[in-house]
C-alpha cells in the first residue's frame, strides 16, 4: 500500500487499476490514456467482507461475485447483492472489484447507486494519512470522485441498517448485463406494527452525472403509512426536480417516467424484505 501511494505521488499521470474491467475498456476506446498504470489487483489483505461493531466492512478489492454471494450481504444488505448480481456477466464479476467500481464512478453503474442508498462511507489512504469520505461527498461528476490523486480507496464501510429494515436495487436495461437506463436502490426502515415508514433512503442511477439522492420521496414518505397511494405519490414526487439526460438509451422524458416506475418498484421490493 505504501508503495502504491509513493508511485501515485511520483509517477506522471498515474491511474490505479483494481480489476480493470472498466479501465481497460475505457483505454481500448481511447477514452482514457494514463501514462502509468498501478495495478493493485493482487495486493494482499484487501478482499474481505467483515461484520464490525457498527458497520459492515468490505475490502476495496472484493470482487463482485463475492459481494453477490455473501451470506451476510444477502441477508442484511440485500440491495448490494442485487446490484452486484446485475453487473456485466459472470466473467466480469469474477474480476471486477467493488472499490474499482466505486472509484470509476460511472453514473450508470450498479454499485455506486446501491452504495449511495446504503449510506456507504469510503475509507481512503494517502500520503497525508487515512480519511473517510462521506456518502454525499464521494461522487462528484461523471467518472469523478472526491478521492485525491495520491489516495487509494481501501475499504467501504456500511453502517448497519435500523431494525426492521429491508432493501432492494432494481436496474432497468434493455439487455442483461447492459448499463442501466435508470436504476434505483432503496433502504427502508418500517414500524411493522402500523406499517409506517420510519426512515428511507432512495438513490437513483443513470439520471444525472452521478448517482443521486433527490430526497423528495424520502421526505414525503417518512412517518407515512405505506399504502399504494402513498407510494405512488412518493414516486411522482421523486421525478420532480430531476433533470435526466437524453441519450441513445433513452430520452429525458422517458427517464422521467422510469424514475417514477422504478422508485415505486424498488420501494415495494425493499418493503417486501423488511424483517
Amino acid at each position: 500500500m505504501n508503495e502504491t501511494i509513493d508511485l501515485l505521488k511520483t509517477k506522471e499521470e498515474p491511474k490505479v487499476l483494481a480489476g480493470g474491467q472498466s479501465l481497460l475498456a475505457l483505454m481500448k476506446l481511447r477514452l482514457a490514456a494514463p501514462k502509468n498504470i498501478i495495478d493493485i489487483t493482487n495486493l494482499e489483505g484487501l478482499s474481505y467482507i467483515r461484520e464490525d461493531k457498527d458497520h459492515l466492512a468490505i475490502g476495496a478489492l472484493t470482487i463482485h461475485d463475492l459481494v453477490e454471494n455473501s451470506q451476510v450481504i444477502r441477508e442484511k444488505f440485500t440491495l448490494l447483492s442485487d446490484a452486484a448480481s446485475k453487473i456485466g456477466d459472470q466473467q466480469i464479476r469474477n474480476r471486477g472489484t467493488i472499490g474499482g467500481s466505486a472509484c470509476h464512478a460511472d453514473p450508470a453503474a450498479d454499485l455506486p447507486t446501491a452504495l449511495l442508498a446504503a449510506d456507504a462511507h469510503f475509507v481512503v489512504e494517502g500520503s497525508s494519512g487515512k480519511r473517510e469520505i462521506l456518502p454525499k461527498d464521494m461522487f462528484v461528476d461523471v467518472f469523478t470522485t472526491s478521492i485525491e490523486h495520491d489516495e487509494v480507496l481501501t475499504q467501504i464501510k456500511i453502517p448497519y441498517f435500523l431494525p426492521k429494515s429491508g432493501s432492494g436495487y432494481i436496474k432497468h436495461s434493455r439487455r442483461e448485463g447492459d448499463f442501466a437506463i435508470t436504476s434505483c436502490g432503496v433502504v427502508i426502515a418500517m414500524d411493522t406494527t402500523n406499517n409506517v415508514c420510519k426512515d428511507v433512503r432512495i438513490a437513483l442511477g443513470s439520471v444525472a452525472s452521478t448517482p443521486i439522492r433527490f430526497k423528495n420521496a424520502e421526505e414525503y414518505l417518512k412517518g407515512k403509512t405505506m399504502d399504494e397511494k402513498t407510494i405512488v405519490e412518493a414516486s411522482q414526487r421523486e421525478a420532480e426536480g430531476a433533470d435526466p439526460p437524453s441519450d441513445m438509451h433513452g430520452s429525458r422524458e422517458y427517464r422521467l417516467e422510469m424514475i417514477k416506475v422504478f422508485t415505486k418498484r424498488s420501494v415495494k421490493l425493499a418493503m417486501s424484505r423488511v424483517k
Partner: protein, 190 residues
C-alpha cells in the same frame, strides 16, 4: 502525441505463467492483452477474439480457477497465473465430458464462440453441478453466439452436467478437474 522522429521502442517485460499445466515464458509490451500473448506469442489459438471489448466472451479462460475474459486482462498482470484454455480440456484423444456433450448435442455451428462457451460452461458446472435452464442461461450471459445457437448450447451444458455427475463418483481426476478444483465457491474471509 509523440513528435515525429522520436519513436521510442517499448520496454519489454518478461511474463512467466502456467497454461494447461505447462510453464510458458515470453517478452511482452506492457500494453499487450493476455489474449494476444496467448494466441500470438504462445500460439495457443484455441482461445478466440470476437470483439476485443469485453462483450463477446470468446476469449474466456479459466484464470486461477475462475472464468475470466482474457481480453480484459493485461499480459503482465498474469505473471505467475495458472490458466486453463480450451486446449487443456481434453485428456490426449479423450474429450472432456463438456466437449463430448457439445459434440453430441450440436452445441456448435461455426464454432467461433465455442472455446469461451466451454470454459464458461465448465465454470458454471464446477460451482453448480446440476443447473436449471435459467441458471445455465445466466451462466453464459457473458458469451455471445452469432449463429444464435443458444438452444443447443444450453442443451449441451445440461447434458454435460449429467455426464460429469456420473463420471464424478468412481473416476480419478483428470487435469482439467484438478485446475477446476480451485474454483472457489463464494465464501467470506473473516
Amino acid at each position: 502525441m509523440m513528435a515525429q522522429g522520436t519513436y521510442k521502442p517499448p520496454n519489454m517485460v518478461q511474463v512467466t505463467l502456467k497454461i494447461n499445466g505447462k510453464e510458458y515464458s515470453g517478452m511482452v509490451e506492457p500494453r499487450t492483452l493476455l489474449v494476444h500473448f496467448i494466441r500470438d506469442d504462445l500460439n495457443l489459438t484455441g482461445t478466440h477474439i470476437g470483439c476485443d471489448t469485453g462483450h463477446c466472451g470468446a476469449c474466456t479462460i479459466m484464470y486461477n480457477g475462475t472464468a475470466q475474459k482474457s481480453c480484459m486482462i493485461l499480459a503482465i498482470q498474469a505473471q505467475g497465473a495458472n490458466i486453463l484454455t480450451v486446449e487443456g480440456l481434453a485428456d490426449g484423444e479423450k474429450l472432456h465430458p463438456i466437449q463430448e456433450a457439445f459434440w453430441e448435442n450440436h452445441g456448435l455451428q461455426c464454432g467461433y464462440c465455442t472455446p469461451g462457451m466451454l470454459i464458461a460452461g465448465l465454470f458454471l458446472l464446477q460451482r453448480n453441478p446440476d443447473p436449471t435452464e435459467d441458471e445455465i442461461r445466466r451462466g453464459i450471459e457473458g458469451n455471445l453466439c452469432r449463429c444464435t445457437g443458444y438452444v443447443n448450447i444450453v442443451k449441451s451444458i445440461k447434458a454435460a452436467a449429467k455426464k460429469m455427475q456420473e463420471a464424478k463418483a468412481p473416476k480419478a481426476q483428470d487435469k482439467s478437474e484438478e485446475q477446476g478444483a480451485k474454483a472457489p465457491l463464494p465464501e467470506q474471509k473473516a
